[in-house]
């Protein structure tokens, strides 16, 4: 594994002439755009990391004349706030990325699903959207975008729950397959991408895939916007080249007493100090949608885990039993162990339950509860018990 260290990048917030980039994109064929994105090895920046080029390619291959581009701005993962910042500072690039995606797959309609917590951004976003529509009309291209708001449901960041929500229903994830690329919003072929992914795609078209792949590692190309919070003297948003170790990250952002870093939010992984040096932040190590939370030695990891499990118990949509009951039982379980009402070996039973949830849950929420649960219980067993 190649270690690259930590270097700051300015791609997402860099000011560009959107019209020039869009004219370039519209002069390219669908295949040429998709080829660029495939060559860039861009993986989804929301956290799941599906190759963006493939998503676009599959959607483009569908024959249905009605297709949709969706921007997932339901940024709800605890510790993530970079999409708000991107929308706040560079929404024109989000719109541009959507238009390019539309060109690539033959979609004329885009939706942005914005979480209700970010409603205060709307006036400014509409102003920028108006300018974008005007510019698109000037270029003589047919593509329009509408906003749809969330109303405080973490699960609606799951793609099929998001479709249900736009369609006016409870945000309960659908069974897959069919995948969104063949049957998504209104059962039409749909490409749904994270805010940052769309901006990155636009920058790849602007600069060329060959330029983009110079950044990052073989498994994690490019750069990524990180949301840094917790016990750090410099909380905030930082765009960094992928491929650094947790140690390098902690050296830059820690307060000198960091004992653990939660990478990827409540549904991500907890990396303890002894693993900092060997853990790479990226798809070859710990993947992240950007959430990086640092904990110093004054923090109880039991409290951290308890907080996450409360979060999941509340945010589970309740549709499938492994997730609905599993989250509640994990929470109850660690409380019992803490109070001495259950033996410490009961944690092994709970780990088995987390494993079952990973296999049996319908969507990513229930499937990933075990990530934080196991990595905290296994690395901070004493703190959870005593």
């Amino acid at each position: 594994m190649k270690k690259k260290g930590l270097s700051k990048v300015d791609l997402i917030f860099e000011t560009i002439d959107a019209k020039v980039v869009l004219e370039k994109a519209f002069s390219m064929t669908s295949e040429e755009i998709i080829q660029q994105i495939l060559e860039s090895s861009l993986k989804g920046r929301g956290g799941a990391g599906f190759p963006t080029g493939l998503k676009w390619k599959y959607t483009a291959a569908e024959k249905d004349p009605e297709k949709y581009v969706i921007c997932n701005a339901d940024e709800g993962e605890p510790g993530t706030f970079k999409d708000r910042e991107i929308l706040d500072r560079a929404s024109y690039k989000v719109y541009g990325g959507m238009a390019i995606a539309g060109r690539a797959m033959g979609a004329k309609k885009g939706y942005i699903y914005l979480r209700g917590e970010y409603r205060f951004l709307l006036p400014q976003l509409y102003l920028e959207l108006h300018k974008f529509h005007k510019m698109i009309a000037e270029i003589g291209y047919d593509f329009s975008i509408e906003y749809r708001m969330g109303s405080g449901a973490y699960i609606c960041g799951e793609e099929s729950a998001l479709f249900e929500s736009i369609e006016g229903r409870r945000g309960e994830p659908r069974n897959k397959p069919p995948y969104p690329t063949s049957s998504g919003l209104f059962n039409k072929p749909t490409s749904i991408n994270n805010v940052e992914t769309l901006v990155t795609a636009m920058m790849i078209i602007a600069k060329g895939a060959q330029e983009y792949v110079k950044l990052g590692t073989k498994d994690s190309r490019g750069s990524k916007v990180f949301s840094v919070s917790g016990d750090t003297p410099v909380p905030g948003i930082f765009e960094l080249e992928l491929g650094m170790t947790v140690q390098e990250f902690v050296t830059e952002f820690g307060d000198g007493d960091t004992k653990a870093v939660q990478v990827g939010g409540a549904s991500g992984f907890c990396v303890p100090r002894k693993k900092f040096a060997d853990t790479i932040i990226g798809f070859e190590g710990v993947p992240t949608g950007g959430s990086m939370k640092l904990f110093n030695s004054s923090r109880s990891m039991y409290n951290v885990l308890h907080n996450y499990l409360e979060f999941f118990s509340e945010e589970s949509c309740g549709q499938c039993t492994p997730c609905r009951v599993g989250c509640q039982q994990l929470l109850k379980g660690i409380e019992m162990v803490k109070k001495g009402e259950a033996k410490s070996t009961y944690l092994y039973e709970l780990v088995k339950l987390a494993d079952t949830m990973k296999v049996a849950s319908k969507c990513g929420l229930g499937q990933s509860v075990g990530n934080a649960f196991k990595s905290i219980v296994e690395n901070f067993r004493e703190e959870v018990i005593y």
């Binding site: 940024e75 709800g76 109303s151 449901a153 006016g168 229903r169």
Partner: protein
């Protein structure tokens, strides 16, 4: 309670009468009145020609589409890990003392409802809260008192 009047009909004109019009309609009602009454949900069901159970079933799924009475200003204090680590409990205590209500309650004058909520995306400026749509960050007890005073008139 509030009078539904022509509001639902007007919103249906604005957003349409399809199933996908449901969320925008409910969101607009909540934006104006802070919660959904049974009457409002029945009226929406009738405009969209779907059962009231469908409307309630959808509304009750979403934390921000309250179906219980809420005050004019809904305060939602973030309780997720970073805000929790950075003094969320002090903020709640300050608000409870000032408004003389507990989390989940509404002041007798119906001006404020105090709630806790999950991560609102301001972890780098914790602790944080929303009052209606407006975020307030880097909170201290002193700052919270000033902010609430601004909503008292």
């Amino acid at each position: 309670m509030y009078n539904t009047g022509n509001m639902v009909k007007e919103l249906a004109e604005k957003h349409g009468r399809k199933r996908e019009s449901l969320m925008p309609i409910l969101q607009d009602i909540v934006k104006k009145h802070n919660y959904l009454t049974d009457d409002a949900m029945v009226a929406v069901a009738s405009e969209l020609d779907i059962s009231a159970a469908e409307v309630y079933g959808t509304a009750s799924f979403y934390t921000f589409l309250d179906t219980e009475e809420r005050g004019k200003n809904v305060i939602r204090v973030c309780k997720t890990i970073t805000c929790s680590m950075k003094g969320k409990n002090d903020i709640i205590e300050t608000l409870e003392d000032m408004l003389k209500i507990k989390v989940g309650e509404t002041t007798p004058d119906k001006l404020f409802t105090l709630l806790e909520t999950n991560c609102i995306g301001w972890c780098h400026k914790a602790p944080a809260m929303l009052i209606n749509d407006m975020p307030y960050t880097d909170l201290t007890s002193e700052a919270v008192i000033d902010i609430i005073k601004g909503y008292m008139h």
